[in-house]
């Protein structure tokens, strides 16, 4: 069983939702990002999304845009991201890592080589924001051959007619983008999320992780009631922008709070 499948199976057994944390590789620099990522599992992250820095992140709001530019200004690159991941895997072989980014750096690295090197570095899956199902056959076979899950995105505009297109060839989990907008701006209403997850579950057995706009432990708990996992990104990345000296400690503190809230959510719902 893949690390992702194993993790979601375990979460199901434990009767709780998972916490997926997004952080940007090399943000603000290689050494600090390494400490951030290395400490995420102990702080309570069930899955790590590792952002591949890109100069033109069209689907991201100001927080992640700034993170990408900080990373690039300090030596961030696809190679540096693999290096970070390799170092992480020396200490942790249990927590799934999904690389999330845009297609151009992958295309330039070479889709086949990228998948091989990503898998060798210890990645479990890929999310490529600007590679919709209509275009991703240029990556999918290589991801499959390397044993990487290709995680697809669904949004409020993905209607029932389109969902099967999105789900065809999807693996690992489905990432439901809960709001119409870029990352880190609006927040989703829990009721809308509940309906959307129920709708998606009618089409697939895949676990559904919900993200975009989740900023606080309370927000994460509200989403975790209805989803298999809650994804938090901008709120974490913003800590790097806001702390001048050491972002590692406050970042892990927020992750612990988020994890506690997410872990309590389903019990809270049952009680």
């Amino acid at each position: 069983m893949s690390r992702l499948a194993g993790t979601f199976a375990r979460l199901k057994q434990e009767g709780r939702a998972g916490l997926v944390t997004y952080v940007m590789a090399n943000d603000p620099d290689a050494a600090t990002a390494q400490k951030i990522v290395d400490g995420l599992p102990d702080a309570g992250a069930d899955v790590i999304e590792l952002g591949l820095p890109f100069s033109d992140p069209m689907a991201d709001g100001p927080a992640i845009q700034a993170a990408a530019l900080r990373a690039l200004a300090n030596g961030g690159s696809t190679k540096a991201t693999f290096e970070l991941l390799r170092n992480f895997r020396k200490k942790n072989t249990a927590t799934p890592v999904v690389l999330m980014g845009y297609y151009n750096p992958i295309y330039i690295y070479g889709a086949e080589r990228f998948c091989k090197d990503a898998a060798a570095a210890g990645a479990d899956g890929l999310i490529v924001v600007d590679l919709p199902p209509e275009e991703d056959e240029e990556l999918r076979p290589y991801a499959k051959a390397a044993g990487l899950d290709l995680v697809r995105l669904a949004t409020p505009t993905t209607d029932d007619k389109r969902l099967p297109t999105v789900l065809e060839g999807a693996s690992g989990f489905l990432y439901y983008v809960a709001v119409l907008g870029v990352t880190g701006t609006k927040s989703a209403a829990a009721t809308d999320v509940q309906a959307a997850v129920a709708r998606i579950k009618r089409h697939t057995q895949l676990p559904v992780a919900v993200g975009f706009g989740i900023k606080t432990p309370e927000g994460a708990a509200a989403i975790a009631k209805h989803a298999d996992a809650a994804v938090v990104g901008s709120a974490l990345v913003q800590i790097v922008a806001d702390t001048k000296t050491d972002p590692v400690t406050p970042m892990h503190k927020l992750v612990r709070e988020l994890a506690a809230a997410v872990r309590g959510a389903k019990q809270g719902a049952a009680a």
């Binding site: 069209m58 151009n104 330039i108 600007d130 209509e134 505009t157």
Partner: protein
């Protein structure tokens, strides 16, 4: 493209010109892009849509634009006969309104209530703000903070036309970032908003749709040169930012094998300086803003900044159909530097009494290079796609004149 009996058949149904083009957008936008495609396909097949567009092009934009035989310029250069397609005489001063008029009519058909656009030089922003004023629709224009500074007259025009100009400070604060922010706006306002892209770039169907709307330039020029000379020209010349004025002129001639075509990219300080906007000659294939095309980037695939004296050419990419025409060698891609463009500007002003925009001034620089080497019975048609009023401040500064 398999059946290659025509150069005009592309793109395929998924928006590909050879390996270029496509629809590389986030999932939130995908259903919208498909909706735009469906709506455009239906409009194209509806004679009443074309009739409505023709009406506005004739009575509001001022089409057809003249094809002017530039006698004094021809004499001065001493070679081929030079004709200028005068799209700078359009309302708002450039070819950009051919496209914004087409797209706003489509947006209205689709029942959209709000228009957004990106702009570099401000010409597309002005052309969008203009049609929004004409039809009473709210308009938001994204413009890089750097460009706002160097194109102040156009910023003022947009504001007078009722548009909100949103300065873009993300990334490098230029046209590519303005396009990113426009896409971000669209993702957040999918139900009521229509995005009018200003050039033959973006996800399918935009490159084909913008080309179709701009093709009025080539269709007119073809009829006009046949009337004036009784034959087709030997060469077409146009400048390239994203490539819309060039596609508009070239496309109706693509299957006329005897008509050669030169497209002029902005070489900025020089192709070998790294400070230019020549994506085809200085870039490589990649994926940005919804399509695969030639892009300026570093070895890691990070998009790099373009440089040109002309804000309208300052884009690190080029429309995917150009990338394909380059690959199959149907169009010849050349370059002109900032300095060449300034000389082109002066040359046309002096010989023909026309101040060209800095964008077509690049095309003029190329014409000045090739015309003297061509025989006197050869014919060049150049797209004079914009007038220079917007550029006088930037030019005066460069020439050391205080206004």
């Amino acid at each position: 493209m398999t059946a290659l009996n025509s150069y005009r058949a592309g793109p395929d149904e998924r928006g590909h010109f050879g390996i270029f083009g496509g629809r590389y957008v986030a999932e939130t936008l995908m259903p919208l892009i498909l909706e735009v495609e469906r709506a455009y396909t239906a409009a194209k097949a509806d004679p009443s849509f074309q009739k409505e567009l023709d009406y506005y092009l004739e009575h509001y934009v001022g089409r057809p634009s003249p094809l002017w035989f530039a006698q004094r310029l021809t004499d001065e250069l001493g070679g081929a006969k030079i004709y200028l397609k005068r799209d700078e005489l359009n309302h708002t001063g450039s070819h950009k309104i051919n496209n914004t008029m087409g797209q706003i009519l489509l947006a209205r058909r689709m029942g959209k209530k709000r228009i957004i656009a990106e702009t570099g030089a401000g010409q597309h922003g002005v052309a969008t703000a203009t049609v929004c004023a004409l039809f009473g629709m709210p308009c938001v224009v994204y413009m890089g903070a750097t460009d706002i500074e160097r194109q102040a007259p156009n910023v003022f025009r947009m504001k007078m036309l009722g548009a909100e100009v949103r300065p873009v400070t993300s990334g490098t604060g230029t046209l590519k970032d303005a396009m990113n922010d426009a896409l971000r706006d669209w993702v957040a306002n999918v139900t009521d908003t229509y995005y009018i892209i200003g050039t033959v770039a973006g996800p399918h169907p935009y490159p084909a749709m913008v080309r179709d709307f701009q093709s009025v330039i080539g269709v007119e020029a073809r009829a006009q040169i046949l009337k004036a000379e009784g034959r087709l020209p030997d060469k077409l010349v146009a400048c390239i930012g994203g490539g819309s004025n060039a596609m508009g002129l070239f496309h109706p001639f693509l299957d006329d094998r005897d008509v050669a075509m030169d497209a002029v990219e902005a070489a900025g300080l020089g192709l070998d300086t790294g400070k230019h906007a020549a994506s085809l000659q200085g870039g490589k294939p990649g994926v940005l803003h919804g399509n695969r095309t030639f892009l300026l980037m570093d070895g890691d695939g990070q998009i790099t900044e373009a440089h040109s004296i002309s804000a309208g050419l300052d884009y690190p990419g080029i429309g995917p159909e150009h990338a394909w025409l380059h690959d199959i060698k149907r169009v010849n891609y050349v370059a002109a530097t900032d300095e060449d463009a300034v000389e082109g500007f002066k040359l046309l002003s002096r010989t023909e009494g026309i101040l060209p925009a800095l964008e077509p001034a690049h095309a003029l620089a190329h014409v000045a290079r090739i015309a003297p080497k061509m025989a006197k019975d050869k014919i060049i048609v150049m797209n004079l796609c914009g007038r220079g009023d917007k550029d006088i401040f930037a030019l005066a500064e460069r020439l050391g004149v205080k206004l």
